[in-house]
Symmetry: C2
Subunit: 211 residues, 2 copies
């Protein structure tokens, strides 16, 4: 059945499982596209333009914003970040779903811009102790950085009520199954299946001819 | 997670698989309740009051309608049929989903009365030839009755666009998996999980205490 591609916004505090879930969803359904952000931040070693980010100069980025080519954008620590519109709209027309790994601010802007085509999902940790345990398990950060991340997580969590779906990630298997169910269901919404009108017209013609 | 029970409206033309899907869904999740209709039609042999139908006199039924005790009702071939409100509201409060096996008219009335708590699903046949094959396979009806059922099916199908979800039942296994996904997803909608506010408050308290 021909359908419009979805815009899937997946948000969560750091450590609640967003990256793992993004990876698993794309294994489950490799047709899901990932929205690559544009940024004015300089590339780090090994980062590839067009794959990790679209690296742009500030004037280039600002021209894209001016021309309405960004679905959302924000400035973070002096660098601009945004989601280019063109690849997303091409996906939608082709019936390809696009996954956005963005925070609540970006999610809100995309929801405002794209409305009914957006499905937003927030992943909560089962507890703050578990969130902290997961952050520490990465072994990258000292106590002060962890404390900062936890405060940032609480801020992100405070926007849970702006999302369509809320999952509590106590078990990654369950969380993945829930995400799959949400995508399967959203694809079956009448408004998403643009081929339904002609399908039902076909049933009507078949009925007329058999009489 | 504490949540409100859903009102699940499942409609389809006769032969598209509604009864089979209803049965399978209740095997999958035995907590799903089934809305038992009230009717003024006299009981047939072996029909049990309160199980197959609530059998009521016309004055009793009309009093229920007057008192707002019916979520929907209609007159069919001189008999009144309706869905009593009380058991459904008790289910909703208890977080139990209620399944309605009703036609588009009943579905529309329930949607108007209960709004956001309603999830409506329409099941289409893959083709009219397949629908006719399934009706004939039952071996109950002659050609004239089949033709009448097919015409009635076309009328029911013409209301597909009033439903939230539309499924094409070409394979009962796929159709069942899709129905499960829809119910799983709808239960995860933020607005359905009434326990989320206190859960997130708990995360906040935990964060405060750990600082």
């Amino acid at each position: 059945m021909q359908r419009r591609g979805l815009l899937i916004i997946l948000s969560s505090p750091s450590g609640a499982g967003k990256s793992t879930m993004t990876r698993r969803l794309r294994v489950w359904d490799p047709t899901i596209a990932f929205s690559v952000s544009a940024t004015t931040r300089p590339p780090r070693p090994a980062e590839v333009d067009g794959q990790d980010y679209y690296f742009r100069t500030r004037p280039q980025f600002e021209a894209m914003v001016q021309d309405g080519e960004m679905l959302e954008h924000a400035e973070v620590f002096g660098n601009l970040y945004g989601s280019p519109r063109a690849p997303v709209e091409a996906n939608m027309e082709a019936g390809v779903d696009t996954l956005f790994d963005i925070d609540w601010q970006g999610g809100q802007q995309i929801k405002q811009a794209m409305g009914d085509d957006v499905v937003s999902i927030f992943i909560l940790p089962p507890s703050m102790a578990e969130l902290e345990r997961r952050l520490r398990a990465r072994g990258q950060d000292d106590d002060a950085v962890i404390a900062g991340r936890m405060a940032k997580s609480m801020n992100e969590i405070s926007h849970w009520a702006e999302y369509d779906y809320v999952l509590i990630n106590a078990d990654p298997e369950v969380c993945e199954a829930e995400l799959r169910a949400i995508l399967t269901a959203e694809r079956l919404r009448r408004t998403r299946q643009v081929g339904l009108t002609s399908f039902v017209r076909g049933l009507g013609n078949e009925h007329e001819e058999s009489r």
